[in-house]
Amino acid sequence: MKVSIDPKYCVGHGMCHLNAPDVFGLDDDGHGVALEGEIPSALRESARLGSESCPQQAISIEE
């Protein structure tokens, strides 16, 4: 599984980080930064929760 944030839509709600801090961080402006590369299986549930919680639907998941 891989996750990515579309910078065109991310406006820094920070909800991804709030709901899944182990997968999503925030940069200095509060925009989401996703964990790079393959998401370890232990974090997949968290990645899904984080991406679902984005109000902009800016996060996509590649299974």
Partner: protein
């Protein structure tokens, strides 16, 4: 495309003031987007998915004010258009918006707010000291508004002892409807003269950084600084106060939840989002379509006014299971209480920190409060909150935060 779906709702009407939640439910039931003829005619974007869809692409809508073909002022974030003052960055479009937003965003980022935490703690303690011995107080103007105002003024680099000069007129702006009284004019004048003084003799506050900002086309004008500072004040004071007041009112007879909020950090986080969703201090704001584009099954046309209904979206059963039930552990919680798209609240980090700090300190120090009287804002289509919320409680003792 379907034919135009219409609905008969006057967002400035008596009915909407009296039964806002019913009217919003009716709008959602009619469809994701519907047209109303009232207030000059505008779309009502009521469902969660439609609000996000409609605000995602920044180039499809404008928040700027302009003169229409009859020479009348039009556009902006309110329906009908409010002539008094411009809110920045709220009433600007890209590319100008980019520079304005950037000039304030750094001061309100998660990192900046974290550094401000000791200040938030201190003003909260001081403000509670001022009311704790009284046994009865108006939470809105004796706790919620002053803490938010003092923290904001501190951040801006303006004298915090002047908080009432700013907070009272802004409170009236919300409580009595969108009429800008003499108090707001006085704020504008004071800001203008302060900016002139500070351009000549800079100090060290956010206002000085704004004055020194270089935009793509040159230095930031005094007028722009004033409009930015005014937006930061209006954006924060009463919205945060209303969120706190509504939350404490709901919590007053729930001792177990109060205890858990004090002990469980993660619960406090999810609860904050749920209070935001349920209370939705920002009810709805407007845009003008810049192009023909669809939202859900309806076609917007260039020049159409659109009212984006944040509270309605937050109560949409298609997105939230049992939206009328407050579930403090709700997750995920994709509320749009801070709006959506590029204008989405730049103060949200500060709002959350102030809210959480006050909630915890207040619940710790004022353990037995009871709301004995309250009055909601007269107008409800832009903001939800309280003209006042009188609480009675066993008097406590000061902790003399001035010594710190």
């Amino acid at each position: 495309m379907q034919q135009v779906r219409t609905i008969d709702i006057d967002i400035n009407g008596e009915d909407y003031v009296r039964r806002p939640l019913d009217m919003e439910a009716a709008a959602r039931e009619a469809g994701p987007v519907a047209w109303t003829e009232s207030n000059g005619g505008h779309w009502m974007v009521s469902r969660h998915a439609a609000v996000i869809e409609g605000l995602r692409d920044a180039d499809t809508y404008s928040t700027e004010k302009f003169l229409d073909e009859n020479g009348q002022l039009a556009g902006g974030i309110m329906i009908p258009t409010v002539p008094f003052y411009r809110y920045l960055p709220n009433e600007s479009d890209p590319p100008a918006w980019n520079g304005f937003r950037k000039s304030i965003a750094g001061h309100l980022s998660p990192g900046s707010v974290e550094r401000l935490q000791p200040v938030i703690d201190q003003y909260t303690a001081e403000v509670i000291d001022e009311m704790i011995e009284l046994g009865e107080a108006d939470f809105v103007m004796q706790v919620g508004s002053p803490v938010t105002a003092k923290v904001t003024l501190h951040l801006l680099g303006l004298p915090t002892e002047d908080w009432k000069f700013y907070a009272k007129p802004i409170h009236l702006l919300f409580a009595d409807g969108a009429s800008a009284g003499p108090g707001v004019a006085a704020i504008q004048e004071r800001l203008s003269s302060t900016i002139t003084e500070r351009r000549a003799a800079p100090q060290r506050g956010m206002i000085d950084d704004l004055i020194a900002t270089e935009l793509d086309y040159g230095p930031m004008s005094d007028e722009d600084v004033k409009d930015l500072v005014f937006d930061v004040m209006v954006g924060g004071f009463d919205t945060v106060a209303g969120l706190m007041a509504g939350s404490l009112q709901w919590l007053q007879d729930k001792p177990d939840l109060k205890t858990r909020l004090l002990e469980d950090d993660e619960f406090l986080q999810t609860a904050t989002e749920e209070f935001l969703r349920y209370i939705s201090p920002a009810v709805g704001l407007s845009r003008t379509a810049t192009t023909d584009y669809p939202i859900a099954d309806q076609q917007m046309h260039k020049g159409d006014r659109m009212y984006f209904m944040y509270r309605s979206a937050n109560w949409d059963p298609a997105e939230f299971d049992e939206p009328e039930t407050m579930r403090l552990d709700r997750r995920p919680n994709r509320h749009v209480a801070f709006g959506a798209g590029i204008h989405r609240c730049v103060g949200s980090n500060l709002a959350r920190s102030i809210f959480q700090t006050v909630l915890r300190q207040f619940l710790t120090r004022v353990t037995d409060y009871e709301v004995v009287d309250f009055e909601q804002y007269k107008m409800t289509n832009n903001n939800a909150g309280f003209a006042r919320m009188i609480m009675r409680y066993t008097p406590g003792t000061r902790i003399d935060s001035s010594a710190r």
